[in-house]
Subunit: 334 residues, 4 copies
Amino acid sequence: MEKIEFRPEREQFNYTFGGAKPLFKVRPGTIMELWSEDAFNYALQTPADLSSQKVDLRYVNPQTGPFYVEGAEPGDTLVLHFISMKPARDWGVSAVMPFFGGLTSTDRTATLQDPLEDTTWIYHINRSKNTLEYDARFSEFKVDLPIEPMLGTVGVAPGASEVRTSLVPERFGGNMDTPEMRPGVTCFLGVNVEGALFSLGDGHYRQGEGEACGTAVEGAMTTTLIVELIKGNAPLWPRIESDDQLMVVGSSRPMEDSWRIAQVEMVHWFQELFELHHMDAYQLLSQISKAPIANVVDANYSVVVKVAKNLLPRVSIYNDIHNELRAIASKLGI
Amino acid sequence: MEKIEFRPEREQFNYTFGGAKPLFKVRPGTIMELWSEDAFNYALQTPADLSSQKVDLRYVNPQTGPFYVEGAEPGDTLVLHFISMKPARDWGVSAVMPFFGGLTSTDRTATLQDPLEDTTWIYHINRSKNTLEYDARFSEFKVDLPIEPMLGTVGVAPGASEVRTSLVPERFGGNMDTPEMRPGVTCFLGVNVEGALFSLGDGHYRQGEGEACGTAVEGAMTTTLIVELIKGNAPLWPRIESDDQLMVVGSSRPMEDSWRIAQVEMVHWFQELFELHHMDAYQLLSQISKAPIANVVDANYSVVVKVAKNLLPRVSIYNDIHNELRAIASKLGI
Amino acid sequence: MEKIEFRPEREQFNYTFGGAKPLFKVRPGTIMELWSEDAFNYALQTPADLSSQKVDLRYVNPQTGPFYVEGAEPGDTLVLHFISMKPARDWGVSAVMPFFGGLTSTDRTATLQDPLEDTTWIYHINRSKNTLEYDARFSEFKVDLPIEPMLGTVGVAPGASEVRTSLVPERFGGNMDTPEMRPGVTCFLGVNVEGALFSLGDGHYRQGEGEACGTAVEGAMTTTLIVELIKGNAPLWPRIESDDQLMVVGSSRPMEDSWRIAQVEMVHWFQELFELHHMDAYQLLSQISKAPIANVVDANYSVVVKVAKNLLPRVSIYNDIHNELRAIASKLGI
Amino acid sequence: MEKIEFRPEREQFNYTFGGAKPLFKVRPGTIMELWSEDAFNYALQTPADLSSQKVDLRYVNPQTGPFYVEGAEPGDTLVLHFISMKPARDWGVSAVMPFFGGLTSTDRTATLQDPLEDTTWIYHINRSKNTLEYDARFSEFKVDLPIEPMLGTVGVAPGASEVRTSLVPERFGGNMDTPEMRPGVTCFLGVNVEGALFSLGDGHYRQGEGEACGTAVEGAMTTTLIVELIKGNAPLWPRIESDDQLMVVGSSRPMEDSWRIAQVEMVHWFQELFELHHMDAYQLLSQISKAPIANVVDANYSVVVKVAKNLLPRVSIYNDIHNELRAIASKLGI
């Protein structure tokens, strides 16, 4: 199999989905090893670096991509199988930025209150223990947390000729900020434009559900993935398959609408997979869905609806491509 | 220890939190074995029983209680440790009721569309396998699902002289409909009136997160619990402790507000437990909280914020009452 | 016609809808002159009186009532025709209370930010000009504003045995806080319990739409009204008729749901009034409805949907009771 | 003064804000007479034309523009003074499109219900009476409604390199769908890109507040306006001035956030105009703002906050440019 290793130069980063020229073309079946910069664009390196002083809001959440997938046409399904995500630095960083996050007023949930205190936390990696050290800024409290790498942002160019900033999660994927986007999963995205034009970035060394303060433990990441393509069958919203779960990500506002989107999409998926009437799929899912919140902090809020495969009869999902890619990946020894 | 077994007569059920006279008094430390009727009030017994014909909306979600806890005063913390929840019938039932549920318009999210088809599903229990049989109504599909009993509704009388129907989740608990309210957990509720006046009901043989169609696998339940009381320290919103998790349940609308409530309450809890500055608690929780949705179908939507204890330093929580009650329960052999 | 004048003693005020014993009975056709205390319960009398120090949150929004309307049964329509509302003091008062209002985080839209500065404004009345003097607290700016009296709170006992605080707007009316509840209008409320048990209060000497800071120019008020009763025909949500408008008030969260409720109720009203198909009523109203926000600050948000009568064919509304009461009132010379 | 008359060819229409090349350049001070197509792109011409069959969703809400304003740079304020809007056809059209509108589930507020019946209404213009004839589709009801022309869509290219469909209202203006965008008003938009790149379209012969069914009385329009430019002072959100009102339009979801945006922006405007402390501006506006809903049907919901100028001291607003343009327009005799 073809393998491409790529680390963008600073001027090659893009900050939108859609609107940017592809960096290069890749053939379905290609293995890619992609380096991505942290969401702050390397502007915060110590606790003394404050977001209000150092972060240039025009250049946040830099994306590695877009890449043109050969043969991808609108209506097709882009398949991204994530083999591994490895922290590319020895530290990660999180910050409470003024008027950004879930427990503060924002430019949308606008109030007249003062912002929370602009604060930065640096998390040092302990490679031998595979942990991050959380260091309180206002007391002596410390605790080691497991590294659980994931990508905040994975997406394709939007439809309807739109161009969206990389801060937005939507039908095209984007800044979904769900811990489910981790090594070992396969992500299915509907293709909107020729070549699909996918990008990724926003590596998180770990993140809680909700991403409460607006930023995870942000860090440069080396992601290895296999790019595949299924002709047709574009899902309306991003789907994810892991070894044991089927997932859909809905993104909108208010958050009940994000959930409705994901739950309805899962009903439709179940109708296809098990030839169920929509009322029967609705009922069955009411008793077996999980619904973890992804983020409540981005331009849209994201909710995941997921179902454990072991509750269900064995059935072929996208022609078993997840299992197939999983097998390929395991032989690569990455 | 004192043990009380109680199965209400039909006319003893209550349909509100607050406003009802206590059935009797219990002393802190009492073990109670309580029988609760299903949320449809036994009106749906076969798939031919339709909610629009059989369910009397004035008498849904019957509660077993209220009980007056001796010594409980406003500002105290009622502690309910759930030892076991056992299906009291051999079948459970779920229904899509017209204009009720998450994937339909409702009296609140009002539209001009027709309702979904009024449909009832009966789930038969297989005691030896500990499963429920899901039977599709519109095709031949069947699947066995594990029984995972929980209570949809646990609460005390509200403050401010309010009386609320048992369909509402709020600060006083109530119809939170979270799968986290299961055997082995301890629930902490702020007391608003003398005697606390707690009730429970709405047994679910299992439920997905979100309770998408509006009803779980509803069934009569035998719940064994220990009632305890902590003087003072009333939490603002319901808290739950399990062997491995700390949890808060927030209930409001829109759903981002439910999450905000629960996440802020968890920040405050962390400030107390670890003497953290609120900014440090906010940051730490951003990286370790889980945020499963409880329901998107009740008068208020409920979201759980939870944290794995094993990520944190060992600390005494409510004076270790959960561990203590767990130990007592394990000796009872229930 | 019978006329009752009533000013409650301090201990006669009630703070809920439902749950309180009626003060006395009134016959349909009675004229009532009712005195109501201001929403702060007379606790703020100078700019130096701060809400955090002086306001007892258990005793805010005192209601004058409830009154038992003879013959009123569930399903009937209570008719309240407001003849006049007159400021009962020479000054009104408004305050920004910590974590209360529309441009601050609240107990629902919870954040970790500090509250806005607790501030009180006193508005002195100029009777000859019929104005209120707005006096800036942080600069020398002054401006005279017209007195436009209205009632923030009008309601009946809720259904389903509920008791709600007087801060809540809902189907039963309550704290709708709309400037449309002014002299000259007729309010129609569905009766939920025997005697209807209506109350009113929360006089505003004027209020903007949205009631942004959470409080209007609050003041004691003398309200003169005629109480009438229509057997049956209970509207689902409060309706208001003025000489030139038909109105419905919806109250829920998020605010789009408040609007949906009011707009759907108006569609149903139009179906009745003009024998229109719901699609035709939907279409017509899309082109002629007005939709002023009432408040975005209470436990539920309220939105008014209204239609100018002069755009429509002449039709009998509730048997022309508004016109009839208007005529009676004009003869009274109040 | 220079005057440009322009009617686009079909292939010149654009369907986005941002992303399209300017049609031509205009100098500040230019009078433009612009022809715009209806929002359905002329696809619905009789009641028998159904949106599901005739409307191509890739080509709805066609915009006339964009136009490059000479000298406009990011941070500047584009000023559009609307002199007149004249129906360019003898009929307008409205439709209930499947899963589009305020009283139906949508792709966001997703449910499993069937769509409302796809229906089209044609409104014939009576020029002598200046009315539109509403004709019920399901009964014989007819009524004449005044023509009150307005533009649903006015905007500039967004910031952050985004491109948005013309269905979206946002900071850049766009599909705000407010009846306040009518002849005689001046609209102020913050410039995000060189040349501002403004467009307009979506003429409505009349529209109710909320635009309940999702479409107004849509029609081709001839709009005459004066284009002006103020260096700097870009407002964060669209502002509108009429002879008697100051207005801000906020657009987001849920609808309380749209209101918060507009109300906060008005607080800031009042701070500038009257040198008020933000607490004093908040208080004053709480008593004098009006808050009519614009639409609850677009990708974002829009709310207007407005204030009557006659309640306030006389003050110069944008250097009195509205009055100046009004005077110029009146001399033109359009």
